[in-house]
Point group: C2
Chain length 384, copies 2
DNA sequence: ATGTCGGCCTGTCGCCGACAA
DNA sequence: TTGTCGGCGACAGGCCGACAT
């Protein structure tokens, strides 16, 4: 009776999500630090995510937390991947524990640099057209994509066709009729497609992605187009209280060295605010930058791949000198080479960019292993 | 192309909701304190609402806020009524300002007792049947309801029919064909009804309510059945941080006597946690209760009206003696007369109940005006 | 008085190749 | 190679009174 049809099966609660699919939906630039490693947590960046999610600027009503430093070095105890039940939006839950001064002295392991997010190899991602989402027809599968990730059709049949079963992030299975027909011949998903489109409420501009994994399973994810004004205010807690909550939770955890929990929404947050400690140390203490220096930075393309944009450093200063002095968060002011630069942020963090030195870097066998632990005590900009 | 049809018109952002409709959707027992009046805010009750909304128990990880008393006497600066854009769930936003000791000495006005929530007179509320929500047909309008709240039909037509336009909480207008036909004759809503059902995602068990207001407008609201497990965890902020946020926001406001903002969800919260000061004072300081005493208490029926249930006081103690000592929040343990008592809470607050004295109360012209302001300083249970 | 059903009509869904970009 | 369209068949949506509760 419900207008939204039910998929074939339901995953049990708290089931671990498929990691490949989660990363594919999150995008090629998103990586999660390894469990057990040490990370740097930026309350300021977390605050930006909450502001983006609640669609509200940060008010000056927020009390100060003098004991909360702008960056908190933590042990990452737990990372779990999730997807919103309503929207399939991917997010991660992390349990962090601030380290005490004694623990800060421990040398860290090279593995803590974090493993790169390996995107699955056998997958494709297509942005839906008006025809794909209309009720008038099915889904047109790009030829190379179908040949690469779908099981081969039996071409002795006329027309060649098969049934595909694909699992989404929640473990629900969807059934599609895959047929190769038309003049000229093309791959199509027909029966079952419209049910999926209406259940997920997909519209033209959204993307779907199919993965053929090593277990010969077909996985199915969605990535919604970034629609303006898509977020709405929560009716649970005021955005002010949310801001206070994240700051107070971090401050309390920092003062007692106890664990706290945060959510990271890769596609809602402007930036990662939990980064591997080694990445931070390398960028802040082992990289020389100056105004006028050229750099490169990775961005995600519309087709879910990456490309580099180039720019010039135009300044180095605190983003919020009053509330977060000596933070390294987005401390680098930049200008972009291309005229479409309006969409790229004017401030970035050190660890996001790749400075171009006039002396070419020769690759070495162990380029990232540091000789000794970084200096104890809180890092500060004055150290440079 | 969207599976969800658009209603005829959209209300502009931030438009003031229709108060009658909001109260009708909220239910007969929900009343909002008057703007400008003084109220008592219970962080403990607010906490219960957040726990209910995030579907998570309160953890012991939450830090203590020693400067946050269990009840905060505040000036109510602003109240706005809202409805969730996705679910039409009604909620209210309140701006509160804790009063300083000087302000606490001011005598209060009798009007601060709060005005009773006057439910609209010309309205009806019907719980939807399987037939009402099925795609097979329309909506069967109870005869008395149609005759009372719908404009009269022209019975010279065969069959008598008209078009109805009704506005929902967001100001969107919905169009229905209202017809009187069948054997035996009955009132039906046909064309337009299924669009409404699917747009609002109504299922059997949910209720719709129609109001014919003084401006001869037809208003239309919904009240969803209380489905278990309907709330889902937010992916914005951890529930722990939300709890900390509400407490820290209240504590900060209390220490600086500054304004703060809260949301009250009448249908999600177990109980009102912002109540008129006069109501609180009357219940706590001018009502004698003891163990064994009989009392009555109002509850909402399934048909959106009220009835009284009776019970006996079985104990008086703090609900959480560690975290909230000397709070009056749900300090009364009760037993209910009827065997269906499993659905009614075993603890209530003083101001929710109506103790039955053996000496009948004679009504007086000014029964609620106090002779003098209540004692300064924080109230405590020891005063009784 | 009103919930559910069978009958029946009709509008939309959805599968097909044509055609063009 | 693939997005959109006209054609058209099938089926669910939806209006009707019958009938039972």
């Amino acid at each position: 009776i419900s207008p939204i049809p039910h998929p074939i099966s339901f995953a049990e609660e708290h089931k671990c999500l498929n990691s490949e699919l989660w990363h594919a939906c999150a995008g090629p630039l998103v990586s999660l630090p390894a469990v057990g490693s040490r990370v740097v947590y930026f309350p300021q960046g977390h605050s930006e995510q909450v502001a983006a999610s609640t669609n509200k600027e940060i008010e000056s009503q927020i009390p100060n937390y003098p004991n909360l430093p702008p960056q908190l070095i933590c042990q990452l105890h737990n990372v779990t991947m999730h997807a919103d039940a309503e929207t399939d939006e991917v997010y991660a839950q992390m349990t962090l524990q601030p380290l005490n001064p004694q623990e800060l002295k421990d040398p860290y392991l090279p593995a803590e640099l974090g493993t790169a997010n390996k995107q699955p190899t056998n997958y494709f991602c297509k942005t839906l057209t008006a025809s794909d989402t209309s009720t008038h027809g099915g889904f047109s599968v790009p030829r190379r994509a179908a040949e690469k990730v779908f099981p081969p059709l039996d071409f002795t049949m006329q027309p060649p066709a098969q049934e595909l079963f694909a699992k989404d992030l929640h473990g629900n299975e969807w059934k599609f009729r895959h047929i190769f027909r038309g003049q000229p011949k093309r791959h199509l998903l027909t029966t079952g497609w419209s049910v999926f489109v209406s259940a997920k409420r997909l519209v033209a501009g959204d993307s779907v992605l199919f993965i053929w994994n090593d277990n010969n399973q077909l996985l199915l994810g969605i990535r919604r187009a970034t629609r303006p004004q898509t977020v709405m205010p929560s009716s649970v807690l005021s955005s002010d209280s949310m801001h206070i909550g994240l700051l107070a939770a971090a401050a309390h955890a920092a003062s007692t060295n106890s664990r706290f929990t945060i959510f990271y929404n890769p596609r809602a947050s402007p930036c990662e605010f939990v980064i591997p400690l080694a990445k931070y140390v390398k960028a802040v203490y082992h990289t020389r930058i100056s105004v006028g220096m050229r750099f490169r930075m990775l961005f995600e393309t519309e087709e879910s791949s990456v490309r580099r944009y180039m720019g010039t450093i135009t300044g180095i200063s605190d983003l919020d000198a009053v509330r977060w002095p000596n933070s390294h968060w987005r401390s680098v002011k930049v200008g972009w080479d291309e005229s479409t630069a309006g969409e790229r942020q004017p401030r970035v963090s050190l660890w996001e960019i790749e400075p171009l030195t006039t002396f070419p870097m020769y690759p070495t066998p162990f380029p990232l292993r540091l000789k000794r632990p970084w200096p104890t005590g809180l890092p500060s900009l004055h150290g440079r």
